[in-house]
C-alpha cells in the first residue's frame, strides 16, 4: 500500500500498514466524526454494497460496520444465521467468499480460524476487511484504539501504556502492541504468567526496538501510566476450563486502585467487560471505553471510504 492509496486494498493485518498509512486513516477518521454522530450528512458510497460475513458472535464490530456503511450511504447485506446457510452444509470458506464477492463491493469477515481473512483476500476480487480471525488479528480494533488514544491524549509517541488481562489469547492486544511500537510507545504487560504476551510477539517487538516490561502486579504500574488498556479474560479462548477458572477475576480496576493514578490517565477496554472494571469507574474522567466503542464508527467509515474510493 502506498502512502494514501487504499483504493481496492485488503485490510487484513496491522502488520501490512506503515505508520504513515495509519496516520492517514486516523486523520480521515477525525473528518468522519461529525458524520458518524449524524451532525452532518454525506453519502459518498451511495450505490455500494458491503457484505458482512460474521461466522462468530459480535455486537460492536458488526453494528459499527453497519452503522459506518449506512452513514456513508452504502447498503449492507449479511447473513443473520450461519446455521441456515451452505456453510452449515460444509462449504469451504473459499467457496463462500467467491460467492459473496459476486454480490457486493467489499467484504467484512469475522471468522473463528486464524488466517481466514488472508485466505478470503486471496479468493476475493473485491477488498476484504478483517473483523477478527480467531485469536489472530483485529486491525480495525487496533485503528480505533489508536484513534481513541490520539483523540484523548493528542499524540501517541512516547506514551506509557499498560496492557492488562489476557495478553496470550486476546487478539486486540497482539495487533495493538505491533502498532504502538511504530509510535515509540513504552509498553508494560500485566498478566499472570499463564496469560502473558507470547514470547514470539515480545521477540518481534524487541526487533522493532521496543523493550516491554512484564509483571503480574498491576498496582506497581498504574501510577506512571498514561493509558491503562484492560482486556477481558476470554473463557471461549481457553482449551481447558480449569485453566480459565484459575485466572478468572485476577484483575479488577476500581476507583481505589486509580486514586494515585495520573489525573489524565485514560482507561480503555475493547468491551464487552465482565468484572475487570468496576461500574463506579464509568463516571470518572479516566473512563474512555464507551467513547472507544463509538470511535469504531468514524474509523470504519474512514476505512470503507478509503478502500471503496469515496470522496468526502
Amino acid at each position: 500500500m502506498s502512502k494514501v492509496d487504499f483504493y481496492d486494498k485488503d485490510i487484513v493485518s496491522i502488520r501490512d500498514f506503515s505508520r504513515e498509512q495509519i496516520e492517514y486513516i486516523l486523520d480521515l477518521a477525525e473528518v468522519m466524526v461529525p458524520y458518524a454522530r449524524g451532525e452532518k450528512t454525506k453519502h459518498p458510497l451511495s450505490g455500494k454494497i458491503l457484505g458482512n460475513l460474521f461466522f462468530e458472535p459480535s455486537t460492536r464490530t458488526r453494528l459499527s460496520f453497519e452503522s459506518a456503511a449506512h452513514r456513508l450511504g452504502a447498503d449492507v447485506i449479511d447473513v443473520s444465521q450461519m446455521s441456515m446457510t451452505s456453510i452449515a452444509k460444509g462449504e469451504t470458506l473459499s467457496d463462500t467468499i467467491r460467492m459473496v464477492d459476486a454480490y457486493c463491493d467489499a467484504i467484512v469477515l469475522r471468522h473463528p480460524h486464524e488466517g481466514a481473512a488472508r485466505l478470503a483476500a486471496k479468493f476475493s476480487e473485491n477488498p476484504v476487511i478483517n473483523a477478527g480471525d480467531g485469536a489472530g488479528s483485529h486491525p480495525t480494533q487496533t485503528l480505533l484504539d489508536l484513534f481513541t488514544m490520539k483523540r484523548s491524549k493528542g499524540f501517541i509517541d512516547g506514551l506509557n501504556i499498560v496492557l492488562v488481562g489476557d495478553l496470550k489469547y486476546g487478539r486486540t492486544v497482539h495487533s495493538l502492541t505491533e502498532a504502538l511500537t511504530m509510535f515509540g510507545a513504552k509498553l508494560t504487560f500485566v498478566a499472570p504468567e499463564s496469560l502473558q504476551m507470547p514470547d514470539e510477539i515480545v521477540k518481534h517487538l524487541k526487533q522493532k526496538g521496543c523493550v516491554p516490561k512484564k509483571t503480574a502486579v498491576l498496582e506497581d504500574t498504574i501510577n506512571d501510566a498514561d493509558v491503562l488498556y484492560v482486556t477481558r479474560i476470554q473463557k471461549e479462548r481457553f482449551p481447558d476450563p480449569a485453566e480459565y477458572n484459575k485466572v478468572a477475576g485476577t484483575y479488577r480496576i476500581d476507583n481505589e486502585m486509580l486514586r494515585e493514578a495520573k489525573k489524565d490517565l485514560i482507561v480503555m477496554h475493547p468491551l464487552p467487560r465482565i468484572d475487570e472494571i468496576a461500574p463506579e469507574v464509568d463516571s470518572t474522567e479516566h473512563a474512555k471505553y464507551f467513547e472507544q466503542a463509538f470511535n469504531g464508527i468514524p474509523v470504519r467509515m474512514a476505512l470503507l471510504c478509503a478502500i471503496l474510493g469515496g470522496k468526502m
Binding site: 502488520r15 473459499s94 480460524h113 486464524e114 480471525d133 488479528s137
Partner: protein
C-alpha cells in the same frame, strides 16, 4: 583410536554438515521408511566437524540424487547442510542448502486453528524470518512454525 571407514560411493548423494541430531529426520524427509530405496544408506551421527567447532551428522545415499523439494525440506531442519552429488566416484556438484524468502507447500502450519488446516484449497505458506536456526511465520495466521520436523508434508 581406530577409525571406522565408510566406503566411498560410486553414484549418489552425500548430505554433510547436518545439524547434529537431525540425521534421522533427514532420513524421514528422504522417505527411507516408505520402502522405496533399494541401495545402501550410511548414517554417521554426532561426528566432530572439521570445519567448525561442534558436531554434525552425515547421510550418504547410493544411487539417488535429491529433487529440489527434498533439498528445501532439509534446509528447514538443517540450514548448514551441504549436498554433494557423486557421479562415478567424483564430486559432480556441491552446494549448500538455501532457504528462499518464502516456503510453500513443504510443511503444514503447527497452529491447529489455522485456516490452512481446515481443508481449504490452499497450500500452507511461510515467510522465512530467520535462516539459522530457521524461523518461519505462517503467511495466513502469522504464527511461528514450531516442531518443523513433525509438520513436514
Amino acid at each position: 583410536m581406530k577409525e571406522i571407514k565408510v566406503a566411498p560411493i560410486r553414484n549418489g548423494t552425500v548430505i554433510d554438515h547436518i545439524t547434529s541430531g537431525q540425521a534421522l529426520n533427514v532420513l524421514k524427509i528422504i522417505g527411507v521408511n516408505e520402502n522405496n530405496i533399494y541401495s545402501t544408506i550410511s548414517v554417521a551421527l554426532h561426528v566432530q566437524s572439521q570445519k567448525e567447532i561442534g558436531w554434525k551428522d552425515i547421510v550418504k545415499i547410493e544411487d539417488r540424487e535429491l529433487d529440489p523439494e527434498t533439498v528445501d525440506k532439509i534446509a528447514l531442519i538443517a540450514p548448514n547442510a551441504t549436498i554433494v552429488i557423486i557421479r562415478d566416484y567424483y564430486v559432480a556438484e556441491k552446494f549448500k542448502v538455501n532457504l528462499g524468502d518464502r516456503v510453500t507447500g513443504l510443511a503444514k502450519c503447527s497452529n491447529p486453528n489455522c485456516i490452512t488446516n481446515m481443508g481449504e484449497p490452499v497450500e500452507p505458506e511461510f515467510d522465512v524470518v530467520d535462516r539459522n536456526p530457521p524461523s518461519l511465520r505462517c503467511v495466513y495466521c502469522d504464527r511461528y512454525l514450531t516442531n518443523v520436523s513433525d509438520n513436514l508434508l
